[in-house]
Symmetry: D2
Subunit: 377 residues, 4 copies
């Protein structure tokens, strides 16, 4: 069991604790659930962990213990990622970092550089990439099941910001609505990077240009809650990506369609254990989670080895933790990690995500002119 420390609290901390436990590979030992001493103490006590409210103290304190934390889950607001992630990596600790990797492209590159320099593992929490059916989609595209990809469509719609909640006391919403803390384009950092990563993950190719319309559906809102993007790929494929966090009535609707020369793939989050392959001819085929016939990468991401039992976010994140564990153990044992454990995204993908947001913001400022999306550089 790898000993885990948490930095950050709130809803997402519960999710990470559950996922780490489900992975069977991590044991939480310490937490800095808040910078406020009383809240940090309460959080740690609730989960039976050692309490900290200061990162330096946490790193020093844990390093001094024989059974101190060996890896960190970083769950704080976006603008804090850069300094905290670098500190963690420089302390030689492996990192599971919430997305986006950082609030800006420059920050993301700095984290990536620190990860490289440290030799530590960094897994980025695009939980969707831990879903078996997205891994199956990647496998099907890779083996040519739909031929060359010609067009893609991604939708990510949530309703959490459909009302004017700018004065809310809810901490997670508050920092998200503040561009100084969340970054310059809320909806793309929060939702759009998920879709961007999923497309790159499935296609094995990243969009290299973007045309963007950004704005706010809620009148008077400063933060960006609506994005309508066109994407272009070097291969000639093109696509659209629509995201909004102000879509009233939508329950975290994340849908992907990949259109190739010989058929389409379709997936959506509300049916995350199902993947449609619609061929040019003959009946559509429905692949389901748990089927023994799935690709090895999908099977590795399957935690309940039976069909007919939905899995969800906990299991998806557990796969990311399991992948991180495999990288850590392989390094300890001086062997190559299982290649199937390398499907989880890392710092490079994080830099790509911020590059994508950066290009979209530039495009929107130029009234939708096509802008080049930088590579991880």
């Amino acid at each position: 069991m790898i000993r885990l420390g948490l930095i950050g609290g709130g809803f997402v901390a519960g999710l990470h604790l559950g996922a780490a436990a489900l992975s069977g590979a991590f044991r939480p030992v310490a937490a800095m659930g808040s910078a406020d001493p009383a809240r940090a103490a309460a959080f740690a006590a609730a989960h039976g962990l050692r309490a900290y409210h200061n990162l330096e103290a946490m790193l020093a304190g844990e390093a001094a213990l024989p059974d101190g934390m060996q890896a960190v889950a970083l769950l704080t607001p976006n603008h804090l990622h850069r300094a905290q992630a670098i500190a963690v990596l420089e302390a030689g600790l492996d990192l599971l970092c919430e997305k986006p990797l950082a609030a800006t492209l420059e920050d993301a590159r700095a984290v990536r550089d620190a990860a490289r320099a440290s030799g530590c593992a960094l897994v980025l929490a695009h939980g969707y990439s831990g879903y078996p059916m997205l891994r199956q989609a990647r496998a099907l595209v890779g083996e040519g099941a739909i031929g060359a990809v010609r067009a893609v469509q991604a939708e990510y719609l949530g309703g959490g910001l459909a009302e004017r909640v700018e004065g809310t006391p809810d901490g997670a919403r508050r920092w998200r609505l503040d561009p100084a803390r969340a970054g310059e384009c809320l909806v793309l950092l929060d939702l759009g990077t998920h879709a961007h990563h999923a497309l790159g993950f499935i296609l094995g190719e990243w969009p290299d240009r973007v045309s963007a319309e950004l704005g706010a559906l809620v009148p008077g809102r400063r933060a960006t809650d609506y994005a309508s993007l066109r994407l272009g790929f070097a291969s000639g494929a093109r696509g659209t990506l629509v995201a909004s966090s102000a879509a009233a009535g939508q329950e975290n609707h994340f849908a992907l369609r990949i259109i190739g020369e010989r058929g389409s793939l379709e997936w959506r989050g509300a049916r995350l254990g199902e993947l449609w392959l619609r061929p040019l001819r003959g009946p559509a085929q429905l692949f389901t989670r748990g089927m023994p016939e799935l690709a090895p990468a999908a099977r590795r991401a399957t935690r309940i080895p039976r069909t007919g039992h939905p899995e969800g976010l906990h299991e998806g994140f557990a796969t990311l933790y399991a992948d991180l564990a495999e990288r850590i153990l392989a390094r300890r044992e001086a062997r190559a990690p299982d290649p199937l454990a390398l499907h989880s995204p890392g710092a490079e993908e994080g830099v790509r995500g911020l590059g994508f947001v950066d290009a979209a913001v530039r495009s929107a400022a130029a009234e939708g002119a096509w802008c080049v999306i930088p590579g991880p550089g």
Copy 2:
């Protein structure tokens, strides 16, 4: 029974014959199923109709009969609509015209002007507007069920042109792939105008600007088979419209989402008897065809007065025919038509459709710059 003549043949003629019969208001009597004498004769014989292969002869011949045709269904390739529609209208015959109204904006305006001058009724075959649940969507938006509309999304994807079929002997496909006959932007004329009309119909407001990416998914194709549009509305609403006739594996996928301040509406063609209302709070609601609680306009468009029995294209088109009949009968009887019969689109909507295509083509030529969509003028 109103006596109907058909101009044009092929798949769509069967649809119109069935729909006219289902409407209970029309009796087909004559047809010019082709300009080729032998094929025209065969077509007419197969349906027990008087045969013509020349429009002038048809108009003259029928006018000379005591029980000659009183209305016309015009089903020919787009570029023929202008001259044929004007001839029909100038002969004083009411018209049900396949969409688009014409191949170009200028042609559409000419047809519209002729319709105005003639005093004849003209119904445009956007069959979707004859579907009860789209009429219910219009009623729900109109009564404020989702508050002010903030964003819309339309997808229309078919796979009929996913392969290189440019050399096909299939007549309907052949003229569609020829810009000289189908018009300058196949995918928008064929599919996009349906989505454009459905949005205007449901919202009661038409988009006034567009930013367009147009192209071909199939390498080497001259015709446009892919369109990715951004739409803007004077009210502040915005949206996207993606259409392709080269989406392998997609079976006439037409989907609409209307996002308002207090909820969303969702509809798709594969489930045309269902309409989702997803409110900001509380359970989602599924309205179904045949429910006695539907709005009057939806009930008028319901042909099977029972729930649980899917209806489809025949019934949708039958509603357009029934609406046309009501306009004709009202004029004969010198009374106002039932207002519920005025939901079917006419020449104005046809001009709007071509104006929309025209603006999109201009935008695409200007690399996606926003272009104003002309009103019906």
Copy 3:
């Protein structure tokens, strides 16, 4: 065009008029919409037909005309079928008879014998057998796609009688609730025979024994509105059939599952254009209406030769009319009918249906003891 007369009115008459028109093979010319002279006249006038209110007069009157009716659609309450059907057949007219064939097994046999003696065609209006995907299911079972059938499940649930409507003025409901007119077991005659026929149609084998629980869900109701049956087949297959017309909130829910040694088939009326094949291994397959790869019998029952456009009751009944027309024309032309036109049920199937109901009633009277279902004998 075959000239059609209607006997009976109400909702179902509209359906038959539409379906006959869609078939392209029949032209309605006469109707006895009611035994009441004024209502019969109004019905006929509304549809432009010659009016009758007495069957003898109708048969004599039409026989005397050079263009008198050549076939009859019989749409009256069950207890009238016997005398009316026999009179029609003895007049040498072909018959499309609403189901059930008659109100009792004895009556059904009498109609069947009259049909045999007359040499006329008789098609029984189990509209579901006109649906392409049920024909596809039959084809898949026949070609061994799921191996030997082991178990079947049928559900048919409607909500029309969920409330106490015994005093309703609605004519169709009134006679159905009266065992003297509808027959002894409302729910099986009305809904159960559809499910029974669909199972026999798909399997190519009829259940030969039944154990039944019959009753009323609505307190105080005399008519039977609930049936829970076990079925046995000579092949060893077994199954269940649950039907109720008092299932509040259910919208004509008709669902079938066929379980074989190598997979299952699933179909339901709310998605009548879809058929699931769930194999023992590998992805489930979704067959859809209009696919060019369907079996010939399914393609013959397809009226809109495109995928993605739902069809429904009108088209299903139109297929029965088209099959009837083919039998009539083949006889006229002294040739064998297209074998694909013989999938529509006839008098034998009608006798089987009444035999099934008869056995279920006997079983229920014996507290669910297994009873033999008589063959068409």
Copy 4:
């Protein structure tokens, strides 16, 4: 954290370890994963637990430790439950017991009596009762949303035994196929008791009589893999329950329909986060997991407090663990437990389940005669 010991291994042990961790209330410390010393040691090592291969030694060993196990998860084959559960309870340990409670009604009563005598908590692993939407269904029925219940339908179909796997080396399948170890009626003990419990849980009323057909779909099989039951309730409601573990192509299909005087409820395992309320009039309503408007009992069973994120088996079992923890903590703290923690089934429900199976077996032996289902007595 309550210290947990596991008795039993295999697939289900992974599920319980994950669920216990997700509950946030239990810490596994010891395991008897097998009676074979080497396999028991391997199992314990893989999960970092103290190893035992003998129950007496485990109970004694843990009792001697200051941090020994305080509760037990019992996951062994059915016929072992009686002796093991009683030993655990007599040792004063709380128990989470896999279903069925025991292999026979007599054994189940003995376990129930031991639980009563011990004062320990016993939670029975009907995981479905930990699903929020089943708890919501119970709340809706309880508050009269569909009026008095008139009929119920339950289906539970799996394909795991669709082939002849009698000679399989798979341990879990092997003991299930052996009536001496699994009990007399495999399909009812394995699947039927889930459906029976869910019906009683939702209705708040248990069926009091049953008519059963039992058999094997797979030729030559000794074990029962097919059950077709009729159920009766004292309130006058009636219903059906069909279960099979030999339904080729079915992926753990568990579906429930509750028909009341004013509407129906529908739920199925493949969409476990969704619950349909179909009222007699007006649109159907879809309740979804995570909605803030759900009943308190459903909210307590919700682990991810956001809509749009599917949960599954891990979370459902975690709710059972959380309920067990609350009972344990309440006893420790000498207070009444949260009433919402009492929705998980216990020994009484386990006795009811075995009584249900016992009555069904008697009915089938009497050719389906109605048999009384004993109460928990």
